[in-house]
């Protein structure tokens, strides 16, 4: 399994590097190209740190074809349990841990997991196809996607249909009190999106999405306290999810824009949620754009969620220690600066399409969880 994963990943990465490097050799006529690298650092109140390196290369080919290649490398570091061995806090941390703990000593060491991701997208006006692959020590995900869209009313109205199918192979690592049985998860997805230009400075987008998820949907390493003991977490193996969203982009005087977003979500596990967001972008001079952002999120709990299960079976045979299935609300504030260096580096030169960006976001919710997200990126259009 590991060898197959490594070979597949190596092959895909090679293709990603080979295609642009040998474009001239294969006489692929390239037009506009853009390469963008982003570094993201995430840290939360539990001292979990996530470092992500992501690169995306976009190229326009002849006959309006466009190719996009994406690579990402992510490392998640979960800190060691810092409570004294044998203490109630330590037992609690180990019982409900979402990481593999083969023996008790593992819990007192930092745990790191790595995810590698590759994606391809090929599109031309009206049609797009894509493939996604990601690999972790215990999880291999693949997905194919397709999208069709068409303009109407002199390109004032666009209708788009999209679909994807994902198949994941899950092979849990050895865990003292979890399940290491191999399993799978499949996801089918469909959407329909309508975009309407309302005025010369206003555009509205409305979308509906539906997901059908089947297979393993709980954490195989995590245990739940039930009726004085603890059992492996158990969620239903089927979930139907849907959301409807609205986005309104409005151009404002003095070269600014306001983007508003609202989303309503529900699923057959009983979770419903509302998301409201706003992004305000403002040009500062010709080269700099500053963006401010706020997002509000509110959700209800799953039907089988409880803080205190009184029977081993949980509720309707299901039990969870996943706080994502509890009721809570969350806020996110952020700011970002994008700086185009064209005016400094001069028009037409190799580096004239260089741009830098820096962003910071702060997230916190009513479960006493908070996180800082820092992003830095550089892109080059050529």
């Amino acid at each position: 399994m590991q060898l197959i994963r490594a070979s597949l990943l190596a092959g895909l990465v090679s293709a990603v590097i080979v295609v642009p490097a040998h474009a001239a050799l294969f006489d692929l006529p390239l037009q506009e190209q853009n390469d963008a690298y982003v570094f993201q650092f995430f840290s939360d109140v539990d001292d979990i740190r996530v470092t992500t390196h992501q690169n995306r290369y976009d190229v326009t080919l002849e006959n309006d074809f466009a190719l996009s290649l994406g690579l990402a490398h992510q490392t998640v570091v979960i800190p060691a349990v810092d409570a004294p061995p044998g203490s109630e806090d330590a037992v609690d941390a180990i019982t409900t841990a979402s990481r593999p703990i083969r023996d008790i000593g593992d819990a007192y060491e930092e745990y790191a997991r790595t995810r590698k991701e590759v994606q391809f997208d090929l599109s031309r006006p009206g049609l797009g196809l894509g493939y996604y692959f990601s690999s972790e020590e215990d999880y291999l995900a693949q997905m194919v996607r397709a999208q069709w869209d068409r303009d109407f009313a002199n390109e004032n109205f666009n209708l788009s249909f999209g679909a994807s199918y994902g198949w994941d192979a899950i092979d849990p690592l050895e865990d003292a009190d979890g399940s290491d049985a191999a399993d799978h998860r499949n996801t089918a997805y469909a959407n329909v999106v309508a975009t309407q230009v309302l005025t010369p400075s206003t555009v509205l987008r409305v979308g509906y999405e539906r997901f059908w998820v089947g297979g393993l949907q709980h954490n195989p390493y995590r245990n739940v306290y039930v009726a004085g003991g603890n059992e492996i977490e158990l969620h239903p193996d089927a979930r139907t999810r849907q959301d409807v969203y609205l986005r309104l982009n409005q151009y404002l005087p003095l070269r600014a824009s306001l983007k508003l977003e609202a989303k309503a979500y529900s699923d057959d596990w009983g979770v419903t949620s509302t998301t409201l967001g706003a992004r305000l972008s403002q040009y500062v001079g010709e080269s700099i754009v500053v963006r401010y952002r706020y997002r509000f999120y509110d959700q209800s709990s799953a039907d089988f969620y409880s803080d205190d299960y009184t029977t081993p079976g949980g509720i309707d045979g299901f039990r969870t220690a996943d706080y994502r299935l509890s009721a809570f609300d969350a806020h996110l504030f952020g700011t970002r600066i994008h700086w185009s260096l064209e005016s400094i580096l001069g028009d037409g030169g190799t580096w004239s399409g260089l741009a830098l960006q820096l962003g910071y976001e702060r997230y916190f919710n009513s479960n006493n969880f908070s996180a800082n997200i820092l992003e830095a990126g550089v892109s080059l259009g050529f």
């Binding site: 037009q31 309006d64 004239s352």
Partner: protein, 175 residues
Amino acid sequence: MMRFSFAALMVLSLAAGARADVVREAIDGYSLHTLEGESVTLDDLEGRTVVVNFWAEWCGPCRRELPVLDAWNQELVGRDVVFAAISIDRDAKKAARLADRLDLSLPLYHDGPDDLAATLDLPSLPITYVVGPDGRTVFTSNGSDPETMDALHAAIISAAPRSASNPNPSRGAER
């Protein structure tokens, strides 16, 4: 019945003829600006083929089309044809920056979105009109795909006679 059909055909022809002159009538003697802001007038068009192109810095297909028109402006130096590429950007400086980046030398003008573009009610962007020596619009192209550009090139060649004397004095970098 025949009389009615003939009359209908005459009315349609006159209407078509009137419509075909709209572009020439709009641009003849029209006061524009260069990308640097100097006022210029499109004149001396009588008896000449005029290629009028409308573009914008923010329009992707326009950015692909302009270098092709620029090349034709040099290629067709032996023919009596006038090129006029008119930017409808609100800010002429943006148009000028694009022109610098693409190293364009064909005649470039600026008029904004509210005047000539609105008068002609441009149906798309980019759009290029080929106006023949008699003032009638003989070809309209919208788009920068290879097939459209081939057809546009053929239409210009067909409409533009070979020049008996020196080429158009507005050829070359005016900016």
